[in-house]
Symmetry: C2
């Protein structure tokens, strides 16, 4: 049987610690060449809506030691409205019932069979959190006890969960421009994480006197600045532009997730302007030498060291996602969901064939 | 609802003439830049079987004018057994119930929604036939009346159907090394196509005195040779190596389907040897200047002419498939199947999500 899982199914079985474990194994295999991943491709075309483009994005990963291959795909209607004067990139939930379309298809490397189909949302935020959490594991001070997090959205939860997995965190401060959001989020995280979480009224007070700053925004501009760097601090970003370029230059050590900073983009005629808005949706730091930065798999393989003393300032940037991450995390979710009897089972014959393709 | 279609469903609605029509439109859009296609990628890893590798292959296409985007994927266990002394590339039907795994996922470019999931087999052979049929349309003599076909397998049926759509074919000769196969196939094609189809005992008699030769084999070596070329003949191949390189050099005009002759191949360590067997499975003519050949979309757009007089010899090679073809043909199959009430309907909510991915 092929398992159809929902985000709720995935959320109920995909633990942060489990996800971080399988991801570490997957990175080790990627580094040794035993596992592979295909860079994300974005195929962009016009739609009949003048203000929107259609984006079809796919990425693949194969991890033989975990027995899985996967494609993760997104079928997006993308617009760029102005919100409070700022240009934002917004994926419109245009599918029936106002929903988004992101899927992971999971296959067995042993016999090729389709194991599962699941939405990508929960896996996505879990793998983002796990990746930045591994950044904390290898780069933050071992005795780090406090976090300031910028952002209180969907991604912020897993950012905190992952950091708490790898450090003995006692205090968390949260800043969001929206007071209601930060107060509610702080209360929820208090309950979820069992440590003291408090909202702050200013971004400056959020980043002051903490060991770790986690950027977890949907901003397409910098939200963490050079002037806030101080000895011993670890700064973590979930997307390229969050940390100001001057801060990266001043930091003692900057590492990337994997170093694939841009997808392979294929644009139809009429996707105008053919600029940054049509790609990742944000400006990329042009002058910083990212190519020379160590990457997460090198830390895991023991080839690079994330921090050499307690006074270094370190930055970790979670650049573009990998098919490998989705294969690994979705593979774990599938195995756990199957054990737990979750999901809708469909005949595997529906997704296989008796003719040679 | 999202439609789950079987190969039988697809076969009952996907006509050759319909497929050729939508493909011509898709190629016109591809040529103008209105439609796009992502080159096939092959991710290859070892398996626990020493004699097999695992291959995860994906390709994407987006055609806004047809309202569709698609990914076609294959999850293959591949071996290279020796059959009658010759090395063959064999995809093992290793999935449950001895089945292969090839799928097309179809999406709407208007609202992103998942429209259908179907196996790729029938679409695959229909799009191969349609492509070579378009080669016949633009390159064979207008008064061509006879065909010699080399091969009697799964692909041969659609090769003949497509050629019969674009030329008034009266006589067909078929050769296959296996006498039983060629006799049975000739009888079946007689009934299907309503023209005279007869088996021949030798390959030489099959290619003699015909206007068109269709190569439709699973050979990884040449099966049509220079010595068989003569004025006015059109020779068609479903894969690169079928037409001897010397024949290509001697022909007056050689065209390719699209000119993407190799996939993007990503190999894990241990996929050994990293040679042609791990890629397309066949030797590629190294010396012929394929880059200068016209391509099918140029014929359709009226930028190139396939034949300038009745005495030219022409060759058409159907090089690597495109995601675009699968989007177009699967889109047609979906629309027809929906009209006909075919397939299994599943809630679209199973394949969409209420969280921003």
């Amino acid at each position: 049987m092929t398992l159809i899982l929902s985000n709720d199914d995935v959320a109920s079985v995909l633990t942060m610690s489990g996800c971080m474990d399988v991801l570490e194994d997957a990175y080790r295999d990627l580094h040794s060449g035993a596992a592979i991943t295909r860079r994300r491709s974005d195929s962009l075309t016009p739609t009949t809506r003048e203000d929107a483009i259609y984006g079809f994005k796919t990425m693949d990963g194969v991890i033989p030691s975990q027995g899985v291959a996967a494609v993760r795909l997104n079928s997006d209607i993308v617009t760029w409205p102005r919100v409070d004067g700022n240009l934002r990139r917004v994926k419109v939930p245009a599918a029936p019932n106002n929903r988004w379309v992101g899927l992971i298809l999971l296959f067995s490397t042993e016999n090729g069979e389709p194991l599962a189909i699941m939405p990508d949302g929960v896996v996505q935020r879990t793998r983002v959190g796990a990746t930045n959490g591994l950044g904390v594991k290898y780069m933050a001070r071992k005795d780090a006890k406090s976090i300031g997090i910028l952002g209180s959205g969907w991604q912020a939860v897993t950012q905190l969960q992952a950091a708490c997995e790898v450090r003995d965190i006692q205090n968390i401060k949260v800043f969001s421009p929206n007071e209601g959001h930060r107060v509610t989020f702080a209360q929820e995280m208090n309950d979820l994480l069992g440590c003291e979480v408090s909202p702050t009224n200013t971004v400056e007070s959020c980043v002051a006197d903490v060991d770790i700053v986690l950027c977890s925004s949907n901003s397409i501009e910098a939200i963490f600045f050079e002037r806030w760097l101080r000895p011993g601090l670890h700064v973590s970003a979930i997307k390229m532009p969050e940390i100001e370029e001057a801060a990266l230059r001043k930091a003692d050590r900057v590492a990337l997730h994997f170093g694939q900073r841009q997808p392979d983009t294929i644009r139809a005629k009429g996707v105008n302007p053919p600029d940054r808005r049509a790609g990742t949706g944000w400006a990329v730091h042009e002058e910083f030498d990212f190519d020379s930065c160590p990457k997460l798999p090198q830390f895991i393989a023991g080839e690079e060291i994330g921090r050499i003393n307690d006074s270094e300032t370190t930055c970790f940037i979670n650049d573009m996602g990998l098919g490998l991450q989705f294969a690994s995390a979705a593979g774990l979710a599938y195995r756990k969901a199957k054990e737990a009897g979750l999901g809708n089972e469909l005949p595997t014959d529906w997704f296989t064939e008796d003719v040679h393709p």
